[in-house]
């Protein structure tokens, strides 16, 4: 089985969000870039599957859309243990643009992992779009992936519970927290090996831009917190009813 993990390059989750002077674009100065947290968990699960299924998983490929500066993120994915990386050399436009680029390079994989969303623009769309473009089944909000007899057994979150489902390959698993316990940290040996692993750079295909950001704003500042003492739990509850009118 050939596995593919989509890798997003996103600002560190502790980043304080700033925009340029006319608020038309994210200000990336001084930002640390990381593998999108869900993608990192997906890659970790892909590694576990490769190690525990006795040869059922032949290769793990990682792919992203981004300029050369995003290669550090792909190299980290290789250092964690992916065998090969593909980078489509283009600026990230909208989700469809990304999905359509990936569709050109994602053919022939049995199982594709996508994170449930990216922590920057919260699109939650690339995985589903790519599955539709490839004409393959997709299962979302997945917290467990097992491979058994060439079939995929998944657990997904549904309203008020969870559900075990199975699908034939090829398929897309759109994963959330719980898919792996902790993301893997690259070891020194992995970092050394990553340098010589193949990283293929592919040119983008023409794709229409369907949506674009016109401007951004920061949420309005909150009024000061109204404080009560440790003995005034009841008073606070009464304020929620009489003043805030939410109880």
């Amino acid at each position: 089985m050939k596995l593919l993990v989509l890798i997003g390059n996103v600002p560190d989750t502790t980043t304080k969000i700033k925009f340029n002077a006319d608020r038309t674009a994210f200000d990336a100065s001084g930002v640390q870039w990381i593998i999108n947290p869900w993608d990192e968990l997906a890659l970790t699960r892909a590694m576990e599957l490769k190690e525990t299924t006795g040869g059922a998983v032949e290769t793990i490929t990682v792919a992203n859309v981004g300029r050369q500066e995003t290669e550090a993120t792909l190299r980290k994915a290789l250092a964690i243990g992916a065998d090969k990386a593909i980078r489509v050399d283009a600026d990230v436009r909208d989700a469809f643009y990304v999905a359509n680029q990936l569709a050109q390079v994602c053919k022939g994989y049995d199982l594709i992992f996508a994170g449930i969303e990216a922590s920057d623009y919260n699109g939650a769309a690339v995985g589903g779009m790519l599955a539709e473009l490839l004409g393959i089944q997709s299962v979302s909000a997945v917290s467990s992936v097992q491979i058994e007899g060439g079939k995929l057994h998944l657990i997904r979150e549904i309203d008020g519970g969870s559900q075990s489902v199975s699908v034939a390959t090829p398929a897309m698993a759109i994963v959330q927290k719980g898919i792996a316990k902790e993301p893997r940290i690259p070891a020194m040996r992995g970092i050394m090996m990553a340098r010589s692993k193949p990283l293929e750079v592919v040119q983008p295909v023409d794709t229409e831009i369907r949506v674009s950001f016109e401007s951004f704003e920061l949420p309005p500042a909150k009024a000061a917190c109204k404080k009560f003492s440790e003995e005034q739990g009841k008073e606070l509850m009464h304020a929620l009813r009489e003043e805030a009118k939410v109880l």
């Binding site: 989750t13 989700a95 559900q163 075990s164 509850m237 009464h238």
Partner: protein, 322 residues
């Protein structure tokens, strides 16, 4: 031309979010000078279907095919696309929850539509079509232009609210032309926790963090939640420690929620946590540390021990609900 909304159901009833979508669809249709139609997939009781009229929906395309209970994303996208074609809809709106997100992304490809997820409120302009959305997990808001003729939106929960505007409703059976091969997913087993308030739809959420010290202390959180009819949630360290299930984790890598009232007990309020809850209308924080960042985001707060404050709040909640 029409606005189409996809109304989700569970066990033969519409989910609460469907009525917010109906209200939103009706308001958007009015703004566009057109009608709002709903599409319902799976078996839903007649009385439930009729409720949509209360919120301004004039027609519902009813696909009473029980195979949709499988929640097969591919099949659902196909059926909604057929409904959009049938009603000549230009805008299709789904809920911004696990199911809505998964289906909308596939649907947008089928319809060659521009997709905006986590949309908030009505478009600020129709030409060009401009709508705002959550970005950076609630740390910011983006104004997005959709350039395509067809548009798909997923609406953030509680960002529009429910508004009644009764119209007469027509229920029309609709056959989207599904075949067995469209339903390629096999459901093996379903585990449901009954009687629990859905976190994604809860009006009140009671959450605990590491300051609760251990899973054995969650009884008070659950008791307060039960009295208030609230959902329960937790911070990331709590789900990472396995004190609570991952499905309860709210914050950047967990769920984003937007209830009317959010209680944070023993949660310090790391930037990742605040992102996931900052859309809540009113935030109440109880934390020992007066410098905890949660107080920056909170409307009401107590600097103190959650274990001491919770019993007082439970007592007050009982009185208020009595």
């Amino acid at each position: 031309m029409s606005v189409l909304i996809y109304t989700e159901n569970q066990d033969g009833k519409f989910k609460k979010v469907s009525f917010e979508l109906a209200s939103y669809g009706a308001a958007l249709a009015k703004q566009m000078g057109t009608e709002a139609t709903a599409v319902s997939l799976g078996q839903v009781e007649e009385a439930e279907l009729q409720k949509l009229g209360t919120y301004g929906i004039s027609k519902v395309l009813n696909v009473a095919d029980q195979r949709f209970a499988l929640l097969d994303n591919q099949a659902m996208a196909k059926a909604i696309a057929a409904a959009a074609a049938k009603t000549a809809s230009k805008v299709v709106v789904l809920a911004h929850n696990n199911l809505g997100k998964a289906v909308a992304s596939r649907l947008s490809v089928k319809l060659q539509a521009g997709l905006v997820t986590a949309a908030q409120g009505l478009p600020s302009s129709l030409s060009p079509f401009k709508v705002s959305k959550v970005v950076f997990t609630g740390k910011s808001i983006g104004h997005v232009l959709i350039h395509t003729d067809m548009k798909v939106l997923t609406l953030s929960y509680n960002s529009f609210g429910v508004a009644e505007s009764p119209v007469s409703l027509v229920v029309e059976s609709f056959d989207p032309g599904m075949t067995d091969s469209d339903f390629a997913l096999t459901v093996e087993q379903t585990q449901k926790v009954t009687g629990k308030i859905l976190l994604s739809e809860a009006e009140i959420v009671v959450a605990g963090g590491r300051g609760m010290k251990g899973p054995e202390n969650w009884g008070a959180i659950e008791e307060l939640a039960e009295i208030l009819g609230a959902g329960t949630a937790c911070s990331r360290p709590v789900s990472d420690e396995g004190w609570r299930p991952h499905s309860e984790h709210v914050g950047q890598t967990g769920k984003m929620i937007a209830p009317n009232l959010y209680f944070a007990f023993g949660i310090s309020g790391a930037i990742q946590h605040l992102g996931g809850v900052s859309s809540s209308k009113v935030i109440v924080a109880v934390n020992k540390d007066p410098e905890a960042p949660i107080f920056e985001a909170a409307d009401y707060g107590i600097v103190g021990d959650a274990m001491k404050v919770l019993p007082q709040m439970i007592e007050a909640a009982k009185e208020l609900k009595a």
